[in-house]
Symmetry: C2
Subunit: 163 residues, 2 copies
DNA sequence: CCTCGGTAGTTGCACAGTCAACTACTAAAA
DNA sequence: TTTTAGTAGTTGACTGTGCAACTACCGAGG
């Protein structure tokens, strides 16, 4: 269609990747320095604390963290070792396991959350005004929705092939 | 300041992370399926082919890939093994090493590039119209510029501490 | 000339993640 | 009830990356 804007879109993709990499790197470094918490652990704590009773099934948790099953198993292993979370069996489904926030985990998150949020605001939010914010959210939401569709289509076609 | 928009900004950050993760995952899978090339290798090939004579110093390359020194050493090791790139000594600085695109590397990139770009267009570009594109680029550029400043400040303060 | 601070790249080690195979369990069908 | 397809989670083997230490080299000052 429009060569100029196609090229510009590709550049936007490059900017997107660079911004992501640098933001994550910076926020990770700051969080680690301020609280000793890796960003990946923070994400686990945040998810759990947002859930009722501070606990979540392993399978819900790894999906919302965009992590593999085994990746979560191992991350939780490490966090259990340090006492930030516990594993609890799931009454009613004996296959299931809950990852549960410990008091220590809750307290550490309470200390870390404002610092991390401030970091996000400083490095990310600060640069987006009200109007831009609406655009940003709309675009990202569309992108994510479209990828969801794609994944579903993959499943369908995988099923089709089986037929 | 404005609690509502602060919360919205935090949500935008979450969307940003999710969009990134899903996009990279999807594009990686598609590229691998279509060309057998991991996205990280594609990035190397693309950088090299954009550079004069299809070659770049290791140190320039790892910086533009946002990768660690050793990370690049190893990535190039693997790509050399498969014949996509070569290492050449740098005349005039015997410490230096060039990573150089081989004919095979060039050819594989030529086949892969349009496919990958189409993927980026399909999953990313499609969802951004002309106006949004300008906003997107402006915001991301500001974010990156600010992070750059931060890194420099860290260096300065590190130097200050030494004094 | 030599020395010495700094840079280029590689290597050993450790860590966090994935995939595939496995165990244990559930639920639905025979 | 027994079988069987499918789900939940863990484990083993492997991959890719980072950090810190190391070698080799550059270039400026004595």
């Amino acid at each position: 269609m429009n060569m100029t804007s196609d090229k510009t879109r590709l550049e936007a993709w490059a900017l997107f990747l660079e911004a992501h990499a640098r933001l994550v790197q910076t926020l990770e470094a700051e969080l680690e320095a301020e609280t000793g918490l890796p960003l990946t652990w923070y994400d686990v704590l945040a998810q759990l604390s947002a859930a009722p009773e501070g606990r979540l099934r392993m399978s819900d948790l790894y999906q919302s963290l965009l992590l593999s099953k085994s990746g979560l198993t191992r991350r939780i292993d490490r966090m259990v070792e340090v006492g930030l979370v516990e594993r609890k069996g799931c009454p009613g489904d004996r296959r299931g396991v809950f990852a549960v926030l410990t008091p220590k985990g809750r307290e550490i998150l309470r200390a870390a959350a404002p610092l991390h949020c401030a970091g996000v605001e400083r490095h990310f939010g600060e640069h987006i005004d009200e109007t831009e914010l609406a655009t940003f959210r709309r675009v990202l939401t569309k992108i994510i929705a479209d990828l969801g569709d794609g994944a579903e289509r993959q499943c369908e076609s995988a099923l089709d092939e089986g037929a």
